[in-house]
Symmetry: C2
Subunit: 213 residues, 2 copies
């Protein structure tokens, strides 16, 4: 249960908006059964109380699967639910403030999309960095320039911690990101929007494992 | 600096949306100069990083005035900014979870609008309750039945802690709420939307003091 004990390979962003009304707990359970290795709760549109309840429900699934749950943005929701860590973007609570609240044992992740964004923070206090967008994506309000798998790999190589590629990743697009040097891929729509999230996760894990072999 | 050391008399809700683009720090400084006794930062529409920055700026004003700053909803922003306490609504992080994060020395407030909502929580863990709406208000997405000053007073008398009336309170509407038994009035528009927030605060404080005498 140490801070280093997590696997970025197939990182499910369990996104309330991305699920479009479908049952996020059922999606997460299925994705974990199919091989998702880490889960992040992202819920920009719901109140804090509902988010704590959802985090607790997801935590029961990740615990049962022997995996970790990260909470996006809300450090307070992470702590209230007893989740395994938090993830902050460039506009969220600063990594140093987040680390002070989380303590040394919880996982802390950060999103960055450029060398300038990486220079803003002290890399020693985060455990991984989400780098993207790897491909074009419609899931962010303010789109950033697309890095491509090679751009993700270039930024990843400047880091003292593992990197996970994010943005527009689905079947056929995971392998190039892994091959470029990322420790894993983070996906929203490819799992939250899948008719069969377990099958979709199995397909992505196969692709990731093949890219590594 | 103990948890009991705050004055609910004229509680400014410094609301980013309520300020409609005006400088919330300047509004707060003026309201404090005019006699506001407590300040709450409410910022539903801005990101966590910007909210921490704003909380730190408001904290400089409240500290200079010898007053306290409470942060609405986001316990993490309260802790990151080093604010004096947090306020939660019925849909936010539960009071018990908030208290666990805040520790025993920070102020914790709760909003309630009915006996049923008051029964949901353990009154011993909060330091005050905001009761409303005292009058009709347009500032909430989901309007609750208007309690009127007497309704605020009736709920206030059931509490083991002080109550502050909230909702639609402005000049001429503060005295009835105080006379009904509230320990203070919380205002948004009457100060955030005032042409001269210092004069508006002076007028309200005079009305409150007169109602108490």
């Amino acid at each position: 249960m140490g801070r280093a004990d997590f696997d970025l390979s197939l990182y499910l962003i369990a996104d309330v908006e991305g699920a479009r009304g479908a049952d996020l707990v059922a999606i997460t359970r299925a994705a974990l059964a199919g091989g998702a290795t880490l889960v992040q709760l992202r819920a920009k549109s719901i109140d804090g109380g509902a988010m704590v309840d959802l985090a607790r429900a997801l935590l029961a699934e990740t615990r049962a699967a022997g995996r970790r749950l990260i909470v996006n943005d809300r450090i307070d929701v992470c702590l209230a639910a007893g989740a395994d860590g938090a993830h902050v973007g460039q506009d969220d609570i600063a990594p140093a403030d987040a680390r002070a609240m989380l303590g040394p044992d919880r996982i802390l992740g950060l999103t960055a999309s450029s060398p300038a964004e990486l220079r803003r923070f002290d890399a020693a206090i985060v455990d991984y960095v989400g780098i993207g967008p790897a491909y074009p994506t419609a899931s962010k309000d303010t789109p950033k320039p697309v890095l491509g798998p090679d751009g993700v790999g270039r930024l990843a190589r400047t880091l003292p911690c593992p990197a996970v590629g994010i943005g527009g990743i689905g079947p056929g697009r995971a392998a190039p990101v892994i091959a470029a040097g990322a420790g894993g891929v983070a996906v929203i729509g490819a799992l939250c929007g899948a008719a069969d999230p377990a099958a979709a996760a199995r397909q992505l894990i196969d692709e990731i494992n093949e890219a590594r072999s």
